[in-house]
């Protein structure tokens, strides 16, 4: 039995690096410090959903083949492809991503990562107006106003509050954990009263919950001492329940709400009484809170990137923060979700200049989301082969995109038999990055962290890096042979 400390969790953009694992007989048996998802991964990665050997679809069924056969088949597909897509790159290391760029360049394909379906719009927004941001520790030490907008950290980044924001202890700001526990107790008390009323033990009618389009708490919550937490969302998420102040915005109306706040923080007047279902009176209180904090931060998620406006929502959120810097210190950060998706952007940018959706078909990198992003290529069916690594578009892409994807050869590299692997033509089993393979990943704030190898991968299972390298070598051999044949033919 051994204990490994300071392990980086390979799940979400938080990359909590304080995980303690107990290893017995080359298996993780205990997880300390992690969230529920972290535990599920470290304890469940070995489950029966693992792919055990390379597979190739023959007569409609995936059948086991040798590694060499699979590598050759994949390389043939890619070397001959006229417009291949190489997609995924998020649940893997920067080291593998580097080879990915080289492979895509070699086969003249479109390299895209999962940012396209999460924070791609954030990158587009940043490209319009820049981004005032920081590392997470900065927020832990200094932020006295924390806003989660269109995101639910409790569900998607379970330890975010505890490690980096409201419930974390910083040099200049204290944790709000105690205050929150008291609030919980008070609420529990209220619930008891309510249930007592329902069962007839108390005769007086409890106050009705306020209408859902109105903020959930009185603006006075914004004048409390200590760190304030505001959640803005279309529904009352678990995180919203923790907040001091919750603003429920009508779906697809975040853009209007932010523009209105931009006017209000400049002491401007609006010709309307309500924006996005929120009374302007409330918004004025919010604007005051924003201007009067010492150090504020907005975290935003898919609630902005995936709703109407998409990257314009991000652009205007950033503009709001930029405007706020005229009055106080204010920063903003996307809640990057998928493990090392940030690394995929980072690596792609340093090698090609562009963070995602990079098209190498003309022999040099080109970038234009909407044109060179895999979603658009798939929906227009312009591709003739796809390689998917470290992502599961089969489960996470809209139906039409997947339908077009399976029209052409589909190569899949993944540890698990996920939806894409089930649909694949050539399937490679991969070792788990951050459990069975070491490497580097980038946290949501671009801080690089080392990933540890804590157990040996199963026999005959290679790392993403190794599989990609072998495919790349094989592609080069095939291209050389073809060039030679061409010379001989003429």
């Amino acid at each position: 039995m051994s204990i490994v400390q300071s392990v980086t969790c390979p799940i979400c953009g938080c990359l909590c690096d304080d995980i303690e694992l107990t290893i017995e007989n080359n298996e993780v048996v205990k997880v300390k410090n992690g969230c529920a998802i972290c535990e599920a991964k470290f304890l469940g990665y070995r489950g029966h959903h693992r792919i055990k050997t390379p597979l190739i679809r023959k007569d409609g069924k995936l059948v086991p083949v040798s590694m060499d056969e699979a590598v050759h088949a994949a390389a043939e597909v890619l070397a001959n492809a006229n417009y291949p897509i190489l997609y995924g790159w998020s649940s893997t290391s920067s080291e593998a991503q580097r080879i990915g760029v080289e492979l895509t360049e070699e086969v003249g394909g479109v390299m895209d990562n999962t940012a396209v379906v999460c924070h791609g719009p954030s990158i587009l927004g940043v490209q319009e107006v820049g981004i005032p941001t920081c590392t997470l520790g900065q927020i832990r030490h200094r932020a006295d106003l924390i806003i989660y907008w269109g995101c639910d950290p409790w569900s998607a980044h379970p330890r975010h509050l505890e490690r980096y924001t409201s419930f974390a202890e910083g040099r200049f700001e204290k944790s709000e954990w105690k205050a929150y526990m008291q609030k919980l107790k008070a609420q529990a008390g209220k619930k008891k009263v309510q249930s007592a009323t329902r069962s007839g033990l108390i005769k007086t009618q409890p106050p009705r919950a306020s209408s859902c389009t109105l903020p959930g708490a009185p603006p006075s919550a914004l004048s409390k001492r200590g760190r304030k937490l505001i959640v803005i969302d279309v529904r009352k998420s678990m995180s919203a329940e923790m907040a001091d102040f919750f603003i429920q915005v009508e779906p697809n109306k975040d853009y209007e709400l932010m523009q209105a706040i931009r006017v209000l923080i400049k002491d401007g007047e609006l010709d309307v009484d309500k924006v996005a279902g929120v009374p302007v009176e409330y918004l004025k209180e919010v604007a005051d809170a924003l201007v009067n904090c010492e150090f504020g931060v907005i975290f935003f998620g898919m609630g902005l990137t995936q709703t109407a406006g998409k990257f314009r929502n991000i652009e205007v959120a950033i503009s709001l923060v930029r405007d706020l810097n005229m009055r106080t210190k204010f920063l903003i950060m996307p809640m990057r979700g998928h493990f090392n998706v940030t690394g995929a952007n980072v690596v792609s940018a340093w090698q090609s200049g562009y963070p995602y959706g990079v098209d190498f078909s003309l022999g040099y990198p080109r970038y234009n989301p909407g044109e060179t992003t895999c979603m658009d290529v798939l929906i227009k069916d312009e591709h003739d082969a796809t390689l998917v690594i470290a992502a599961d578009p089969g489960a996470n892409f809209p139906k039409k995109a997947v339908q077009n994807m399976v029209k052409h050869p589909l190569i899949v590299i993944d540890p698990h038999m996920n939806a894409t692997a089930m649909l694949g033509d050539i399937v490679f089993p991969a070792a788990f990055v951050g459990i069975e393979v070491e490497g580097t990943a980038y946290r949501m704030d671009h801080v690089p962290l080392p990933l540890k190898k804590v157990v040996e991968p199963p026999e005959g299972i290679y790392s993403d890096e190794e599989i990609l390298r072998r495919i790349l070598e094989e592609v080069r051999i095939i291209k050389k042979q073809k060039a030679q044949q061409k010379v001989e033919a003429t």
Partner: protein
């Protein structure tokens, strides 16, 4: 490894006092040697060509979090400068923030072989090193930003220089860094809450320390650690009208640190610290005041920070300065504060000839380079990409060596800037010998890189050969030919291998990453207390902070014995 003989070139090797003599250079096993077997060696006929040590850049932002964020936010910058893949080289993009491979190729095409990345947030050091690995053809090093590191502020506040020195040594090792980088000391911590310091005697909020104490303290630490380079300083109030007085105060403050007649500070991109006037309306050059001080003191070296008239991207750890630039320009603004350590910012910027301030900035850098008499004190940089992209160096070479070249540019500048410029009164034109100092020898000397910047026996065989015949070419008149020659090296030789010929990459090799392994008598104690402090200060675990050896592809550590 093949032997190489470079025959009959005009050699400019200032560190060995060789000034244009026609001689042969012999290379074996990647080093300069006395001689090689002429029958076995590969011969390069350099007759009629200029031979210099490979170029050394003391300050160029080419890798790391800030640079890469710059890449990410500027697709419109890359789209105008795409670089195709070849059988030998990788594809990529420019323009002002080239992708890593393109950075390596373009430097090498100009005959450069060693470059220093001057601005690395320690927390993001792994990122910087990952990128450096992907920059081919060059030797590289990087400076961690530690002027606003909480540990430094706290130890200096306590007056515990020894403990401070031990921690700085630890930081250099841990981040695989090369020098102490200080940016707007005290200002970056203040920027954590949106504030700044405005003189070297302002108090840093919450830390009871002044920029003066930080700079002087770290200069002393630098000396205690026997570091090869001095503190590398970006001054307070950078980029603001009237800041030259702050710069003078800073240089005067460092007089208090004993230096035995040697430099104890390097002011980087001096142009940005030499503004006169008291507002943008009457902003003027203070090159005269600054150069006068430097000419009469021996403890300062500097680099130019030349402005190029083009669309570029400014990026610096000086977060508050970038915010000022945002307010001036309204361009997209990136701010990136790093916990416990530093801050940073990015603004795209187009320097225009017809803008009086920009044109004055252009003039200031040249005035400084020409008014500072000793070329060993000021080196050629653009503070890439802040003043402009590094591949504009041939233009600067022309301006420095040819009065005709710079007057031709000045003539196109804003009238107000023309009128105020000191350039018309400056006759000086650098010789090829002096040029070799400001582009390689001086930089190598300031950096304490003993194997670089010269062609003496034992030096690294990093050599640049340019198609300039000093016997037949008057470089002051034929500046266009000079510009072309220095933009497309006839040969660039890296570690004894020809990597560029006639301006094209002909061999793709990896350069090395250089860092300091500073040995202190009693090393910095990493005990539970330190680890707890770590958790308290940073949001990562201690074990995940260092740049482990495997992060560096080709390792070249230099061991330093500290006197503490």
């Amino acid at each position: 490894m093949t032997e190489l003989l470079i025959k009959n070139g005009f050699v400019f090797d200032p560190l060995n006092k060789v000034n244009g003599e026609k001689m042969d250079i012999a290379v074996k096993n990647g080093k300069i040697v006395e001689k090689v077997n002429e029958h076995k060696a590969k011969i390069i006929d350099a007759a009629g060509l200029t031979v210099m040590p490979g170029g050394v850049d003391i300050h160029t932002h080419i890798a790391g979090g800030e640079v890469n964020t710059g890449r990410m936010v500027r697709p419109e910058d890359h789209v105008k400068d795409a670089v195709r893949k070849t059988a030998l080289t990788r594809s990529g993009t420019g323009y002002s923030i080239p992708s890593t491979f393109v950075t390596g190729y373009r430097y090498s095409q100009m005959g450069y072989t060693t470059v220093m990345n001057p601005s690395m947030a320690p927390l993001e050091a792994k990122h910087t090193h990952e990128e450096l690995n992907d920059i081919p053809l060059l030797d590289k090093a990087t400076y961690p930003l530690i002027g606003d590191w909480w540990f430094v502020l706290e130890y200096l506040r306590k007056g515990d220089l020894e403990e401070c020195a031990r921690h700085v040594a630890w930081m250099l090792q841990t981040t695989k860094g090369y020098a102490i980088k200080i940016v707007n000391p005290g200002g970056l911590e203040s920027w954590g809450f949106g504030r700044n310091v405005h003189s070297i005697d302002d108090q840093v909020p919450n830390f009871c320390i002044t920029p003066r104490e930080i700079m002087v303290g770290l200069a002393k630490v630098n000396k205690m650690l026997n570091l090869p380079h001095t503190i590398h300083l970006h001054t307070n109030n950078l980029g603001l009208p009237g800041n030259y007085t702050t710069t003078l105060d800073t240089m005067k403050a460092l007089e208090s640190v004993p230096s035995d007649g040697k430099p104890n500070m390097h002011i980087t991109h001096l142009q940005f610290s030499s503004f006169g006037g008291d507002g943008w309306g009457n902003m003027r050059s203070a090159a005269e005041e600054i150069s006068k001080y430097i000419n009469t003191h021996s403890h300062v070296t500097a680099d130019m920070g030349q402005v190029i008239f083009t669309d570029t991207t400014t990026m610096t750890a000086d977060g508050p300065f970038e915010y000022t630039l945002y307010q001036l320009s309204g361009h997209k603004w990136v701010n990136s504060d790093v916990e416990t350590e530093t801050s940073g910012g990015i603004i795209p910027f187009h320097y225009k000839k017809n803008n009086a301030v920009n044109a004055t900035q252009w003039s200031i850098a040249l005035e400084l380079a020409l008014l500072i008499e000793d070329p060993w004190k000021i080196y050629m940089t653009t503070d890439h990409p802040n003043g402009g992209p590094f591949f504009a160096y041939p233009k600067i070479i022309a301006w420095l060596t040819s009065r005709k070249a710079r007057m031709a540019t000045l003539k196109k500048c804003h009238k107000k800037a023309q009128k105020k410029s000191l350039l018309p009164s400056i006759k000086r034109e650098l010789s090829l010998y002096e040029l070799a100092i400001v582009t390689r020898a001086g930089q190598a000397k300031a950096l304490g890189l003993t194997n670089k910047g010269h062609l003496g026996v034992g030096a690294d065989a990093d050599i640049a050969i340019y198609d300039v015949n000093p016997e037949t070419t008057d470089i002051a008149r034929k500046y266009k030919a000079v510009r072309k020659a220095f933009g497309n090296a006839a040969y660039t030789i890296k570690d004894g291998r020809v990597v560029v010929k006639d301006g094209e990459v002909v061999q793709n090799v990896d350069g090395r990453t250089i860092w300091l392994d500073v040995q202190t008598a009693e090393p910095c104690r990493i005990d539970e207390q330190m680890k707890n402090k770590f958790r308290e200060y940073w949001s990562v675990d201690y074990a995940n902070y260092p740049v482990y050896d495997h992060y560096v592809k080709v390792k070249d550590p230099i061991t330093i014995q500290a006197s503490v």
